[in-house]
């Protein structure tokens, strides 16, 4: 490999994640990772991570059970919005049971137009399980429903960062403390490629520690967006702590008591010469910055070059990141009332625009628009050939099977405790054998 040395610059959890990922994916090819660590700043206490964590575990060889155990993790089916008019959960998983049930969501729309009181969560494994505080991973008897059971986790951020720091050292990452991220490249001519990770907190640190026993029962298995008195609070829970912060859209930035408010801060990616800079705000309302980081690292590897100083590479990467950001923002802003084409189209015919990145899934868009109370003027014309009397029993049967699958799941707490205590080591792969030959 012509690039032997990759410099990762930054601090905190994002920096550690990027270092682990690059180390695991590139050291088998002879690369060396140097972590230029800037002074650690305070960040949020809870890290909310969507399904991208499973990719991270698969690549690094860290076990999900180990991370959950060490970092007081909770599983998370998605994000619950307390003001939603129909349903509540923005699920990571798909609706229905199978991944490719054609027009399933349109069957749901037909039901809602006839029975407005029905709830989308009834047709989602995640939504139903979140309501009942149940959880399982798609293993054993649940393995057939992998797509519907996609989930994320919430972990203690500081604990995870320190754990990854140790892990990275074992992987051979060399840490060099630096005072800030403006490192003169000439001072380190051995570095072939620089990755700057700027994780912007968006406000001063604040969190309320809550005793496990004090956590409300309903907090099992999801994060929350809570709207009250004109303010929107984001809540994410580990087994020991709850993170709360306020969201606002204006330019104003205020600290509240025990909470902090932030304006939307954009993700961004810029590439100049052999330096890639990723800005990933840690506090976001909908899109997990950790999932974004993993997605963008995957893209980086997909385009991994022999020479980094390529204008076309910089442009292509930037184009991808910009599209990702636009799609994430469209989603976020629609939640706060923007009239997007996506929403207009949905209101008309229940369809979603084709998207170019995985920033937001179809299920999340569908849940959001349903949650805002949008009922399309019409649903699938193809389904019109099936009358209500034939369609509804099929939909009811799927809802029944979902209830049945969910009722077979353990309580979220019980699952977490069993899962964490099953004795799975943190680092499952022996070091150094991540990649064999061609």
């Amino acid at each position: 490999m012509n690039h032997r040395v990759i410099g990762v610059v930054g601090q905190g959890l994002m920096f550690q994640i990027a270092s682990s990922w690059l180390s695991r994916t590139l050291s088998p090819f002879g690369a060396k990772i140097i972590g230029f660590e800037t002074p650690v700043k305070d960040g949020p206490v809870v890290a909310e991570w969507g399904p991208g964590l499973h990719d991270f575990c698969a690549v690094t060889g860290l076990s999900l059970a180990g991370l959950m155990r060490e970092c007081q993790g909770n599983f998370c089916w998605g994000l619950r919005c307390n003001w939603f008019k129909r349903g509540a959960l923005l699920p990571y998983g798909s609706y229905g049971l199978k991944s490719r049930q054609k027009e399933f969501e349109h069957g749901m729309l037909r039901m809602f137009s006839r029975f407005p009181e029905r709830n989308p969560d009834e047709f989602s494994l995640a939504g139903s399980a979140a309501c009942l505080g149940r959880f399982a991973l798609p293993m054993a008897q649940w393995s057939g429903w992998a797509h519907a059971m996609r989930s994320g986790v919430t972990l203690e951020a500081a604990q995870l960062a320190s754990l990854l720091h140790t892990f990275n050292q074992q992987l051979g990452v060399v840490y060099l403390p630096v005072s800030d991220d403006s490192i003169p490249a000439e001072a380190h001519p051995q570095v072939d490629f620089w990755l700057h990770i700027a994780s912007v907190a968006g406000g001063s640190k604040s969190a309320e520690s809550i005793e496990e026993t004090l956590l409300p029962e309903s907090c099992c298995g999801y994060s929350e967006l809570h709207s009250q008195a004109g303010k929107t609070l984001k809540l994410a829970h580990t087994r020991r702590q709850t993170l709360q912060y306020g969201l606002r859209q204006g330019a104003q930035h205020q600290s509240g008591q025990g909470r902090y408010f932030r304006q939307f801060k954009r993700f961004s990616a810029s590439w100049t010469g052999n330096q890639l800079r990723l800005e990933l705000p840690l506090l976001t309302s909908l899109t997990s910055p950790f999932d974004t980081l993993i997605d963008w690292l995957q893209k980086l590897l997909e385009l991994w070059p022999a020479q980094f100083a390529s204008h076309a590479l910089a442009m292509s990467y930037r184009q991808y990141a910009d599209t990702y950001i636009a799609e994430a923002e469209d989603f976020e802003q629609t939640l706060f009332g923007k009239q997007s084409l996506q929403r207009q189209l949905f209101l008309r015919c229940g369809r979603l625009l084709q998207r170019e990145t995985g920033a937001v899934s179809d299920a999340q868009w569908f849940a959001l628009l349903m949650g805002m109370g949008d009922l399309p003027q019409r649903s699938s014309v193809v389904l019109e050939a099936t009358d209500d009397e034939s369609l509804f029993p099929v939909m009811e049967e799927i809802a029944r099977r979902i209830r049945c699958v969910v009722s077979g799941m353990p309580e979220h707490r019980e699952f977490v405790s069993r899962f964490c205590n099953a004795g799975v080591p943190l680092n499952i792969h022996a070091l150094g054998n991540a990649s064999q030959g061609a």
């Binding site: 012509n2 991994w304 020479q307 204008h311 076309a312 008309r348 084709q354 170019e356 061609a438």
Partner: protein, 512 residues
């Protein structure tokens, strides 16, 4: 009772009948009335004979039995397009409906290929694609589902366009479509500018809520009435004419469409069961119709000279395929030459999207915008792919020299620069051609990147070369076990032969 929605299709070519078949099959007859108007005195283009695997998905959605279809339209199987003389005189590569090799360690296969064999390769990249290998050997077998080697490809058909349109007409009529023969003489618009009705030469008036303009190049509604506008892409795709003719059936029909360059364009050869379709595509400022006809005669034995058909076209796209209450489908919405057999695919996706978005009323700004956005992306991405075929060449004629030096669209420029510098083609979610197709054409036409994936240096070249050679030997042995194409076609005539499920992918399966 609610009045049914009237959908009027203008045009009885392949696009018109594909639309009629799909709408009549998928929309409830109690709510939608489908009428198709066509003028027998106005000929259809009738040369859309080469398809891609999506056609199987279309037929499957309609519930058409594949074997019956093959018999009815004189179809043959198709696994690839074979490009001869593209890029340089001696080039000969296949763009197969499948992957070349596999991703290893999350790195695309072509990086291994380039690391092993480099520029001066005695081994061609397409020799790692099972579909391409089988096509060259004139063989065919269904992909074996779930098999990582023998299951990673798709297949399509060569078909007789006139018979296909007839087949779909029968199908549509049986599903309740009303067929009116007559030429549209004038069109009545409402005050808002929507189309209210079509008036035929015999005075008959046909009213409708929605109008699908499948009137071919004349774009009778979308352009002549609604002035949608046309974006010409001739600066990038300079061919604007074709002369087409048939010859006799081949003894051993190949499972590929042949595309071979000449000094001012290219020619196709499409094997059907009962005849062979041929044509020369050319730029009219470089070659006259007579010269093209002579070239066709010289290149193919037994052309029926009395039935040569000359067609002219302007490559490009309607500015808005959906304008007011009218949606253009087929040649009325744009034309991209048949180099990669994409026209019927574009017809198919337009129909699918129209059905998805079919509005409840005329206040359909969102559906229209979303549809037009979708169609634009499909067209532009195929356009860029076609331009690559022309642009990447070192051929020595004024036509090819122009193509090699012409300024490219920005989107393609960036794509090619990225490939040249890094060996990577960026993937996209919407669009037909994945990186493997782009690599096949680039390498097939002699465009080698300066760099490849930075991780490849880990492995010694000879080690990869050894592995790849043994992989290729396995592919060759799989081809050896396949049936001769002619035999496979005979088998399709047997009752009850089961065929694999179709998927909407060029490569036979949808990943992820």
């Amino acid at each position: 009772m609610v009045k049914p929605v009237d959908i009027v299709i203008l045009g009885g070519g392949t696009a018109g009948w594909m639309s009629a078949a799909a709408l009549s099959r998928l929309l409830p007859a109690s709510r939608y009335r489908i009428t198709l108007v066509s003028a027998p005195e106005l000929q259809t283009v009738g040369v859309g004979e080469a398809t891609i695997p999506h056609i199987r998905y279309f037929n499957q959605t309609l519930g058409i039995d594949e074997n019956e279809f093959i018999r009815s339209v004189g179809a043959t199987y198709k696994l690839a397009i074979r490009f001869k003389g593209w890029g340089y005189e001696a080039s000969d590569y296949c763009h197969g409906f499948g992957y070349s090799g596999e991703r290893i360690n999350d790195i695309e296969f072509h990086h291994y290929f380039l690391r092993a064999f480099g520029r001066s390769s005695e081994v061609d990249y397409d020799r790692f694609c099972l579909a391409s290998l089988a096509a060259r050997a004139h063989r065919f077998e269904y992909p074996k589902q779930g098999d990582s080697m023998a299951g990673r490809y798709g297949y399509a058909f060569h078909l007789d366009a006139t018979r296909y349109a007839d087949y779909l007409r029968e199908f549509s009529l049986a599903n309740g479509v009303k067929h009116i023969l007559g030429k549209v003489e004038s069109v009545q618009l409402s005050l808002s500018g929507d189309i209210c009705s079509l008036r035929l030469l015999n005075g008959e008036i046909i009213e409708g809520d929605w109008f699908l303009d499948c009137s071919g190049f004349s774009a009778r509604l979308i352009e002549q009435e609604l002035n949608s506008g046309y974006e010409s892409w001739q600066q990038w795709l300079p061919c604007d004419r074709a002369v087409a003719g048939a010859s006799g059936a081949m003894d051993s029909p190949p499972t590929y469409t042949l595309s071979q360059t000449h000094c001012a364009g290219w020619r196709w050869q499409i094997p059907l069961q009962h005849r062979t379709g041929n044509g020369v595509v050319y730029a009219s400022h470089e070659m006259s119709d007579d010269e093209a006809a002579v070239l066709l005669n010289r290149s193919v034995e037994g052309i029926d000279e009395s039935r040569l058909k000359v067609l002219s076209f302007l490559p490009g796209k309607r500015r808005k395929s959906w304008q007011r209450n009218c949606v253009a489908i087929g040649l009325s919405s744009g034309f991209l030459e048949p180099l990669e057999s994409t026209s019927l695919y574009l017809v198919q996706v337009a129909i699918e999207k129209f059905i998805e978005y079919l509005p409840a009323d005329r206040n359909c700004h969102a559906e229209r915008q979303a549809f037009n956005q979708f169609i634009d992306i499909e067209y532009e991405r195929i356009r860029d792919f076609l331009i690559l075929h022309y642009h990447q060449n070192g051929l020595n004629s004024s036509f090819w020299r122009y193509c090699a030096t012409m300024a490219l669209p920005d989107s393609l420029n960036l794509r090619l620069q990225l490939y040249d510098e890094t060996g990577h083609f960026s993937g996209y979610r919407q669009g037909l051609f994945m990186p493997v197709s782009w690599v096949t054409v680039a390498l097939g036409q002699g465009r080698y990147p300066q760099g490849i994936d930075g991780r490849m240096q880990k492995w010694p070249k000879h080690q990869i070369a050894q592995e790849l050679t043994s992989y290729q030997a396995k592919l060759v042995s799989l081809v050896g076990q396949m049936s001769a194409h002619k035999y496979a076609l005979g088998r399709a005539g047997e009752e009850g032969l089961r065929y694999p499920e179709a998927s909407p992918s060029l490569y036979g399966f949808v990943s992820g």
